[in-house]
């Protein structure tokens, strides 16, 4: 599903964000990407959605060679790989339903699909009653649910969540994690970058730990800190 071979990223300012990353993630896996701020988690995420290009190495996601994607094919690729952000990034001037529908609209899907899938997806994340409200009137946890609904409505092959619980209190974070695991259970590969120790220890899934741009640990069913609970 996801295959990184010897990937390095050096920014223009000389910072060596990632060093020789080799990583393979299978279909329907749930992977935590952990590490302190600046360890390279966000860079890795940006490479996966082709927001940036690596300095060297190979990246293959869902059958696409990400480095060789021509610009006009980029939208098609991004429709297969959905993103959830720490700051939600909803469109403030569109209603909850419109925000979720936008994921289908950008893919030029017919209106009847929108009419069918938007209520279904809002029900999945438990926001049916907020369909016609604007995102900024919702709580952080609710906004993140909208973002997740927007990400999963297209049935993406991969869902990448970058610190999705970073702005949320522990209880809400746990709900968001449950939702992501539920989506994973429906068949989507989930990669969650986080430094939220509670989340990682709670889920007991595969953990990939980055330190100074290098993978120092790759453990199935792992904890946030190696060998400790």
């Amino acid at each position: 599903m996801i295959f990184l071979h010897d990937v390095s990223k050096i920014y223009a300012n000389g910072i060596h964000a990632l060093k020789n990353i080799n990583l393979e993630i299978g279909q329907q896996e749930f992977v935590f990407l952990v590490g302190v701020s600046g360890a390279g988690k966000s860079t890795l995420v940006r490479l996966l959605i082709r927001e940036e290009l690596p300095t060297s190495g190979q990246i293959i996601v869902a059958g696409h060679n990400v480095l060789q994607l021509p610009k006009r094919r980029l939208p098609l690729y991004r429709r297969k790989v959905s993103m959830v952000f720490q700051d939600f990034r909803l469109l403030p001037n569109k209603t909850v339903a419109e925000n979720v529908a936008m994921a289908l609209r950008v893919a030029h899907r017919p209106q009847r699909e929108i009419d069918e899938f938007v209520p279904e997806t809002l029900a999945l994340v438990g926001l049916t009653q907020y369909a016609d409200t604007f995102p900024l009137t919702l709580s952080g946890g609710e906004q993140q649910r909208v973002a997740i609904a927007r990400a999963v409505i297209r049935n993406p092959e991969v869902l990448i969540a970058d610190e999705p619980t970073g702005n949320l209190d522990p209880e809400t974070s746990a709900e968001i994690l449950d939702l992501l695991m539920q989506i994973n259970g429906l068949g989507t590969t989930v990669i969650m970058a986080t430094h939220d120790k509670e989340m990682v220890n709670r889920a007991r899934r595969r953990v990939v730990e980055l330190v100074h741009g290098e993978i120092v640990r790759d453990e199935v069913g792992g904890m946030y800190h190696y060998g400790r609970s």
Binding site: P75, N93, K94
Partner: protein, 295 residues
């Protein structure tokens, strides 16, 4: 058909966007309207000035004094030749008798002065009117060698000055107009860039969701065109009122000439404003959005 409904749905979303960003929309529409009204007002004043200059130029006559022995057929031929030129407004034939009548009329307070005249010493003449001083000048020099022409009278200083004034006015008109259009372009472009900049986050999210360039660009483009059209509408109304007002003023200033209200000019002005608005609104949005489509 599919393309039409696509554009219709995009127009709908552009209007909804404009409404939900109404503060920004109002500011932008105000700026666009203001700049376009300024530009339109300038065009009206420029037009009024050129009408005034043209009316002054029409006051210039070329008087061709004819030899007494000139055969009438030659005189008629010369008259026709002058009339055939599009730049000629009229050619009036003044007989020797009419010339004397005019002279008597201008000396009617002192009729004794003209008493000693036994014979009529005044020549017949052709009075040529044109709104093109340069044309009259060239005719004057060409006709000097003509055997039926006794003399030529052209108010040389007046003509020279008018040519100069009209050239300067035309040049200033173009220069100021171009400068003003550039300023309007820059200000309107900046206003539109701001509205796009305020929504750069939105563009980025849409990009990461897999929206194609034109999916993102179309609503902005239509919104820009919409700004331009509103600006054109507002400025057309204001400039139209100003045009009618200036026209009345003009008629008082040059009462000796009937200056008719030029509806064609007004319509052309409105068309220019509308096209200017559409072009700059659309282009401004297109270029502004392009900057954020890099990721």
């Amino acid at each position: 058909m599919a393309a039409l409904s696509y554009i219709a749905s995009m127009s709908g979303s552009a209007v909804v966007n404009a409404w939900r960003h109404r503060t920004m929309t109002v500011i932008t529409v105000l700026i666009v309207s203001l700049m376009m009204t300024t530009l339109g007002m300038f065009l009206v004043v420029e037009n009024a000035l050129s009408v005034m200059i043209a009316s002054l130029e029409e006051q210039v006559n070329l008087i061709i004094y004819l030899e007494d022995e000139a055969p009438p057929s030659d005189v008629l031929a010369l008259r026709q030749e002058l009339l055939d030129d599009a730049r000629t407004i009229s050619v009036e034939y003044v007989t020797k008798e009419q010339a004397l009548e005019r002279l008597r009329a201008s000396f009617q307070d002192e009729p004794d002065l003209l008493q000693p005249l036994l014979d009529n010493p005044l020549p017949a003449s052709l009075e040529v009117r044109s709104d093109d001083p340069e044309f009259l000048q060239s005719q004057a020099s060409a006709l000097l060698g003509n055997p039926i022409v006794e003399d030529i009278d052209l108010a040389q200083d007046v003509v020279d000055n008018l040519i100069r004034i009209s050239q300067v006015a035309t040049f200033l008109g173009y220069a100021l107009g171009a400068g003003l259009a550039l300023v309007a372009l820059f200000v309107i472009g900046s206003a539109i860039r701001l509205t796009v900049y305020a929504r750069r986050g939105e563009i980025e999210v849409l990009r990461l969701m897999g929206a194609s360039d034109h999916f993102i660009r179309w609503p902005f483009l239509l919104e820009g065109v919409f700004f331009g059209l509103i600006g054109a509408l507002v400025s057309s109304i204001l400039v139209g009122i100003a045009y009618i007002w200036v026209h009345e003023l003009l008629q008082q200033l040059i009462s000796f000439l009937p200056v008719s209200l030029d509806i064609t000019y007004l319509l052309r002005l409105i068309l220019i404003l509308a096209l200017f608005g559409i072009a700059i609104g659309g282009l401004g949005s297109y270029l502004s959005v392009r900057r954020f489509l890099t990721i």
